[in-house]
């Protein structure tokens, strides 16, 4: 055993003696390695933050540039004049051509967008293929009635101030999923300032958790998606946990 240890010590000494004169060279090499690290870091950050979003989202224009301001001013019931609830309680969403024809059977002004709308859609009877910013994946069940009628939420809470827009925004379509960028949110880091900045499950859960904490009767969702403790809930609340385990998923995922 001792023989082996002696040999090992000898070898270490030899290596150190040969390296010493080249210390300067070593520093330079370290510098180069660092530069490469920085290039890699900066490059990938640039790819991740600047190039990736450009590749991920395609920019689409709405078929007709829609002016909400003009329309809201012309109707009596605000948003619900066009985005109404059907008799069975389901939400009509984006209006169909039949609704628009009531006023726009013929062009009412000289706006080229309106002329285009009448010419290409009203006259020919073609539905307008609107791009819906808030369209959720098919696995999501969302009831407008329970949120608007029961929960008394304002449209703005989720949809923002779209009713005050004079032009249709560019629709950024996720090339992979086919859904709008509005669902993930404009900010790719997932940061948000207002409630309408994102429409992911976490955003539903956040609001539900807040309401639950205030003592409201709402379905609590595992927020934020079951891998972090919920800040508003005491973990001892077994009642809530049962609720989550039993049926919370199937409220929104039918």
């Amino acid at each position: 055993m001792s023989t082996l240890d002696d040999k090992a010590e000898e070898t270490v000494e030899q290596v150190e003696t040969t390296k010493c004169p080249e210390k300067e060279q070593k520093n330079r090499a370290c510098g180069i390695i660092l530069i490469f690290f920085v290039i890699g870091l900066v490059g990938s950050l640039a790819v991740g933050w600047l190039i990736f979003p450009k590749l991920l989202y395609s920019q689409k224009k709405q078929p007709i540039d829609f002016n909400h301001v003009v329309h809201v001013a012309a109707v009596e019931d605000g948003c619900e004049s066009c985005h109404y609830f059907r008799e069975d309680g389901s939400f009509s969403g984006v209006p169909k051509l039949a609704q628009c024809v009531g006023c726009h059977e013929e062009a009412q002004g000289e706006n080229p967008e309106e002329l285009k709308f009448v010419e290409e859609h009203v006259t020919k009877g073609n539905e307008v293929p609107w791009l819906v910013y808030s369209r959720q994946p098919d696995c999501v069940f969302f009831s407008h009635a329970s949120h608007i009628k029961m929960g008394k939420l304002d449209c703005v809470v989720c949809h923002g101030h779209i009713g005050e827009s004079k032009h249709s925004r560019v629709y950024e379509e996720n090339r992979l999923t086919g859904y709008s960028r509005d669902i993930w949110g404009k900010n790719l880091a997932g940061l948000k300032k207002d409630t309408w900045d994102r429409m992911k499950m976490d955003d539903c859960a956040e609001c539900h958790a807040e309401l639950k904490a205030k003592g409201e009767t709402v379905t609590t969702l595992p927020w934020p998606i079951n891998w972090m403790p919920r800040p508003y809930e005491k973990p001892a609340s077994s009642q809530v946990r049962v609720n989550i385990q039993k049926d919370a998923c199937f409220v929104c995922h039918k």
């Binding site: 490469f36 920085v38 950050l45 990736f52 994946p137």
Partner: protein
């Protein structure tokens, strides 16, 4: 500057660190999961306004009410109609899959004219004007030559305005050959006619019966109105008993309170032996027998002499004590009901058997009583003026029917489709020059497929009105596709077996998808093209106008509720119920009830092949849609091979899953063997509803069509097909 391996590694590490600090990994992961959950090719119903349309399903004679859920213009789901007198919210697997018959690949999308050889499948698309002109030209030519009677029409039903228009067209054109698809309805109608003197259907008050004696009827396998029967079966579980007399442990037998295995084909003898016990022990309803029946004494003598339980026990294989206990329980129940008609009831069966079973109902006096057999008159809302026939038509109508129905030999039978192939092939009668087929698929459903195809080949002009490319459509010269049931108006009179007269209205749920036309409109157009008396018999502009006028004040109710029920209908009282010459119920004594002899020599064919039915196999003119064929078990269809059931005792060395050749005097097919202790030794059972050669890739070429292996056996009294099986053998493949 020297770039070494370490620099490269450093670049990678830097890249990894940067990537980790960017949103790329999390975002890509999230997007990939969404992408994989919503494959772009997964069909997802569009989002939109939901609506419901009430209608009637006409995929079988069950006549269930349906509610179709729509999103915008697309039908999304078929559900049972709540509150409908037949099915009250329930639906069967075929009805549930009805959308696949609307949107599926098997539709005929436009009128087609054959260009290749028969059955080759080469078609030329033609316009409706051309198609109708072609039919009128052909039929006009025959009429000019005085051959109008050589035109025949096979129809799925003879009730309702569409079938009546078709029959009316044939009459005014000059042909007596309107033929309805055979079923147990024929035998029940004839039984009612001979024993009660009425032209009516048999209705069964199954919901109120408390003891059901079933002679092989597949009560929960599609007999009668399938959903109604399954619901009734649930009621019997609570308060009632079911005894199933059958050679095979069917689902009905398995769910019954008692299963009585019987030598096949001896059911009539068992029924009469039960009658023997009832009479001998004076368990019958004395009031009914004494005051409202005729011929009882002769019947009594015949039954007492020839059908003692001991004698019958030897014939049927059912012990004398079982016969006695069955008789006692049956007669001892307050609302007993005896029914017959094997399986789903597609083969008319032996008239003797039907009358013997109906006799049991008469003995316990449950004719037109709660829980019994009711006389259901044919609906009388179709009141069109009598047709005025011209000379040619009158001449044609005076000719005998080609199928022999109404002839001296079979004077009381109305339709005998099973005799048609032989009549054409033998050439003894006149040749059939043109054949219409509507709401039926005779090339598939009529026994002895080989003879049926041969007969079809001898008919120079075959017109199919099928919506689907079924076996008959494939073997026709011209296809004039009807709208499917979800695209058309149609009245549906009292469904088979229902005890009260009702009318249902089939409504268009969606606009016709293709260039199809309502059969009613096609008949009107053909009549108009003929002109003269023929056109005069059809004064309506369109079928819809005709239907609306015919239904009169019932129309609004039908549109709103989907059905109309006669609230004033009550079962007839015994005093006025019977219209026989004696004005009483006739215990018809036809002498010793011989069992129907099946085809084949016992030595050459030691086994007996019998068909069986399942709710998962549609064996009528509609084939299984893809959803339904998916539900068929491995013990019925293994891959593309059909599986036959044999008792291990008579398997003769065939092990479970072995391949074998099943031969009958009519043909041989390749099968797989399944050992089943629920089938009597000496029998082989083969499922019906498989072996299609047409329709789509989901249904075609799977299994074997039972009708290829069996031929019809004429009932000596009615002429209807009474074959309940055929001799067979299994040999090594």
């Amino acid at each position: 500057m020297k770039v070494c391996r370490r620099s490269f590694l450093s670049l990678i590490i830097g890249g990894a660190a940067g990537t980790a600090l960017s949103p790329l990994p999390l975002k890509l992961m999230d997007d990939s999961s969404i992408w994989s959950q919503a494959w772009p090719w997964t069909p997802v119903p569009e989002d939109g306004e939901v609506s419901h349309v009430g209608s009637i399903c006409t995929l079988c004679p069950g006549g269930c009410g349906i509610t179709v859920r729509k999103v915008n213009d697309r039908a999304i789901k078929i559900e049972g109609m709540k509150g409908h007198p037949v099915n009250n919210g329930g639906i069967c697997v075929l009805g549930l899959s009805g959308l696949q018959l609307l949107y599926g690949p098997t539709r005929v999308k436009t009128p087609l004219k054959r260009v290749g050889a028969r059955g080759e499948g080469r078609w030329e698309k033609i316009s409706w004007d051309e198609a109708i002109a072609e039919v009128v030209k052909k039929l006009g030519g025959l009429r000019e030559k005085g051959k109008s009677h050589t035109v025949a029409c096979i129809s799925g039903t003879d009730r309702g305005t569409v079938a009546q228009l078709l029959g009316r067209f044939l009459t005014v054109y000059g042909s007596p050959n309107f033929i309805r698809i055979p079923s147990i309805q024929d035998s029940y109608e004839l039984t009612m006619h001979l024993m009660q003197g009425v032209q009516a259907s048999a209705g069964f008050d199954v919901e109120n019966a408390d003891f059901v004696l079933s002679f092989g009827s597949g009560l929960i396998e599609g007999w009668g109105s399938p959903v109604r029967m399954i619901k009734a079966n649930s009621k019997w579980k609570e308060r009632g008993k079911v005894v199933q007399i059958e050679s095979r442990l069917s689902n009905t037998a398995a769910k019954a309170d008692k299963w009585v295995p019987i030598n096949p084909g001896t059911e009539a003898a068992l029924a009469l032996a039960i009658a023997n016990v009832i009479i001998q022990k004076s368990l019958y309803n004395a009031d009914f027998v004494k005051n409202y029946s005729s011929g009882f004494e002769e019947f009594k003598q015949m039954v007492l002499n020839e059908f003692s339980p001991d004698d019958v026990s030897g014939i049927t294989g059912v012990s004398a004590s079982t016969i006695e206990s069955l008789a006692k329980s049956f007669a001892g129940s307050s609302k007993p009901l005896a029914v017959c008609g094997r399986g789903q009831g597609e083969t008319p069966g032996s008239l003797n058997e039907f009358m013997a079973v109906h006799t049991l109902n008469a003995l316990v006096g449950n004719i037109d009583k709660k829980g019994g057999v009711w006389t259901v008159p044919d609906p009388d809302y179709i009141k069109w003026p009598e047709v005025e026939m011209d000379r040619i038509a009158a001449n044609g109508m005076s000719k005998a029917r080609i199928d022999g129905a109404g002839s001296k030999r079979y004077p009381d039978t109305r339709y005998l489709l099973d005799r048609l192939p032989n009549a054409i092939n033998s050439g003894k009668e006149y040749p059939v020059e043109a054949l219409f087929v509507a709401g039926a698929n005779p090339v598939y459903t009529i026994p002895d497929s080989k003879a049926v195809k041969e007969a079809f080949n001898k008919v120079p002009f075959v017109v199919s009105f099928s919506s689907y490319m079924d076996e008959t459509a494939v073997n026709s010269d011209l296809i004039l596709p009807n709208h499917v049931f979800l695209e058309r108006y149609e009245d549906v009179p009292t469904p088979v077996g229902l005890q009260k007269p009702i009318i249902g209205l089939s409504k268009p749920v969606v606009k016709p998808l293709f260039n199809t036309k309502h059969l009613g409109d096609v008949i009107l157009l053909m009549a108009k093209a003929f002109g003269g008396q023929i056109a005069k018999a059809f004064p309506w502009d369109s079928y819809e106008v005709c239907l609306k006028e015919t239904l009169g004040n019932k129309w609004d109710k039908l549109i709103n509720d989907g059905f109309w029920a006669d609230s004033n209908f009550r079962p007839a009282v015994w005093g006025g119920a019977f219209h026989t010459p004696s004005r009483k119920f006739e215990f018809v004594n036809k002498g010793k009830a011989e069992s129907i002899k099946i085809e084949g020599d016992e030595k050459a064919y030691p086994l007996i092949l019998m068909p069986y039915d399942s709710m998962r196999l549609a064996s009528g003119f509609i084939g299984d849609p893809p959803f339904v064929i998916k539900t068929v078990e491995d013990t019925v269809l293994k891959g593309k091979e059909i599986v036959v059931e044999v008792n291990p005792k008579s398997a003769r060395g065939f092990r479970e899953g072995d391949q074998a050749i099943l031969s009958t005097p009519k043909g041989s097919v390749k099968v797989r063997v399944h050992h089943f202790n629920g089938i009597m030794p000496g029998l082989v059972a083969l499922p019906r509803g498989l072996g299609h050669t047409a329709y789509d890739e989901y249904l075609a070429d799977k299994g074997v069509n039972f009708n290829e292996l069996i031929g019809p056996v004429e009932d000596p009294v009615s002429g209807l097909n009474a074959a309940w099986g055929i001799r067979a053998k299994l040999t090594r493949a």
